[in-house]
Amino acid sequence: MTKLNPRIPEGPLAEKWTNYKATQKLVNPANKRKLDIIVVGTGLAGASAAASLGELGFNVKAFCYQDSPRRAHSIAAQGGINAAKNYPNDGDSVYRLYYDTIKGGDYRAREANVYRLAEVSGNIIDQCVAQGVPFAREYGGLLENRSFGGAQVSRTFYARGQTGQQLLLGAYSALMRQVDAGTVKLFPRNEMLDVVLIDGKARGIITRNLVNGKIERHFGHAVVIATGGYGRAFFLSTNAMGSNGSAVWQVYKKGAYFANPAFVQIHPTCIPVHGSYQSKLTLMSESLRNDGRIWVPKKKEDAEALRAGTKKPKDIAEDDRDYYLERRYPAFGNLVPRDVASRAAKERCDAGFGVGSGLAVYLDFNESIKRLGKHVIEERYGNLFQMYEKIVDDNPYETPMMIYPAIHYCMGGIWVDYELMTSIPGLFSIGECNFSDHGANRLGASALMQGLADGYFILPYTIQNYLAAEILTPRMPVTNPAFEEAEYNIQERLNKLMQIKGTQSVDHIHRKFGLRLWDLVGMSRTKEGLTEAVKEFALLRQEFWNDARITGDQNELNQELEKASRVADFIEIGELMARDALQREESCGGHFREEYQTPEGEASRNDENFMFVGAWEYKGTGNEPVLHKEPLVYENIKVQTRNYKI
């Protein structure tokens, strides 16, 4: 169990990070040059980390599967990024941001990490502004804020509906500057396929060059995984097409623990599914809930007429509309956290009040357009409205948008300690692919914050505490047997994939698996369903390895092979997600077990038995993994039942 030591520094919560920084070990400038750091992934977390480490003088190698770091999935984030700056003078503070984040995560996150996140949040905004990130401005030239789901203060900074894009471009440009300076070497169109351990420490990675299929070996004194979330396991999700869980899964198989895999977030405001050919779901920023009101008809016959197209939304009288979030949660109304909003939408649709295909609710701007004028709405959300119109072919200024929940974010991921180090020495994990800061539920605008906090302000310090002891370790040749063996295994795996020559396309299997994952391990879960899922996914794994069809060649650009490898991993991740959900006999945040709910249908936690991080240890494919528990202790906060009604 010693491997699961969270290594939280001593002392009062508010002083832990300051004390840590004052006493951690540093690497002197002359020695930094001698140390190589591999960063896998160049989204917000990876790019900001690689740039910052390069600035410090380390030798950095940065990898991503896209042709450019600027295309990482982070680019798609729309709504905004939180920071406890209290610029609007509405009473925000580090403590309040920490409090909201812990509560929003249903008391399943590690207190010390979350406090630190809140603490550095302000620096992120300073950093990004200095880089030229065009955050929205007031007429006086100062920064503008808005509020976001789950918060009663306006602490969200944004750049039109393109916040993720602008933040990523900021981190990307810092990275490009380091590439120009020669401290960072960039490896785009390269996918990491395995991590290499020597004497129990992470010492490098094996990659596949996606252009020519070449397998390559790379040494590093430390390896940082920043590869994002595994939500695309569900096939339909808001994640980019190439998003994957492969790097996370490979390091899990090498001994890193995988924490809280069952905690995935469902986002309430996505464009609903409209056809069987569909490849992904498009998110509509949650900021829309600031000015849009969510409703379905009160009467079933109206819902039926709307579905049949014999009535239009404007034909439903005000009195016949059920603004169910405002009705059920008067204090937060349309701004309740995502899990609450998502389940409420599902509940209404399951009860027969859904519109569109039946799996949709309205998000209506009529009233705010009347109150504020069309131009204000246009200024705030113009590009989102345009995007909606392009996809759905309907004008949201005139008819309400239709939305439905979709898989969006993974709170679970690689287990890390306070230093963001995994249970493998020298292997670090940052951003969405680690488990650390969001508990069972992620509040809006907090993932961007975490990615950049990890990359700019936390990892560059904490990794030095590890590397200080490595300055005498010379660079190792990649002819080391550990590299040879890892490469051999990867070659074997790719050969095996190419030789299946089955009958079903990879997408076909993925779609089938994703649907089952959504049904059994999606918005609500039951013991029966999860037990079934564990069995079914094991069979699907075999089906995949017996019957997948991958065309083309191994030694060329082969997108089917890339997909196949990812889908093989997704199926195994799905199995672990189901196991984890089965084990957690309570409802919390994004994890809803139907057996554990209050009479009003709200999630019902079991703090006595489940106030822990569930970290899984791999024991071989097909064998039961072992669950380790990291108890969560809240010294500074009274654990309460989440309540968004009052």
């Binding site: 900001s48 450019s68 030239g141 602008q166 440009s173 960039l186 392009k390 065309t551």
Partner: protein, 246 residues
Amino acid sequence: MDFTLKIWRQENSTAKGRFETYKVAEISPDCSFLEMLDILNQDLINKIEKPVCFDHDCREGICGACGLYINGRPHGPDSAVTTCQLHMRKFKDKDTIVIEPWRAKPFPIIKDLIVDRSALDKIIQAGGYISVNTGGVPDANTIPVPRQNYETAMDAASCIACGACVAACKNASAMLFVAAKVSQFAVLPQGQVEAKERAIRMVAKMDELGFGNCTNTGSCEAECPKSISLSHIARLNREYLHAKLT
């Protein structure tokens, strides 16, 4: 809807390319262009043939990865959208659609419809940033930015580096792309210190990488999915001249 597709196929950067003709049937008008290609690819896989390779990732019009030359236009017939946001309802039933990769010397073909756009990263490496290290920066609100400048910076910053401007330009100029970045920083106080060097270095890099000159034809603006305005090119020219003269 049914379509006949004429698609550029090319095994790798050195192989000779050719057009192949394919048919797709019963495509929903709500299908995106890339989903239509997915359907074609599933057919090809069923026939144990190699699917058509194309770049894409977000499928939300923001990552800039997708880019196809469709019936002679970058990103196809709709205005102000990327290929992933183009829908089949913009075509007529039974249309023949010609699909090619971006064609420009600085964008060599990698395979089928995929080209190498790393030249755009190299241009950014030549100064498309503000030189600040992590930490030690002033509080964000000590750098006020007039609202109008923020709007202009944001307009310019929306460029997704798709390369459609290059593909659309008869000279394969990357001027709109470069102008967008230079312009973003030119109107912000943070960008002033390095303004001259930035303009000179980025333009020099663009020339060095084989992009052509801008002759103010304007096809870049017309085909840009993010409606980046030519006025940024005017600003770049001013910045560049100013930098050269002072």
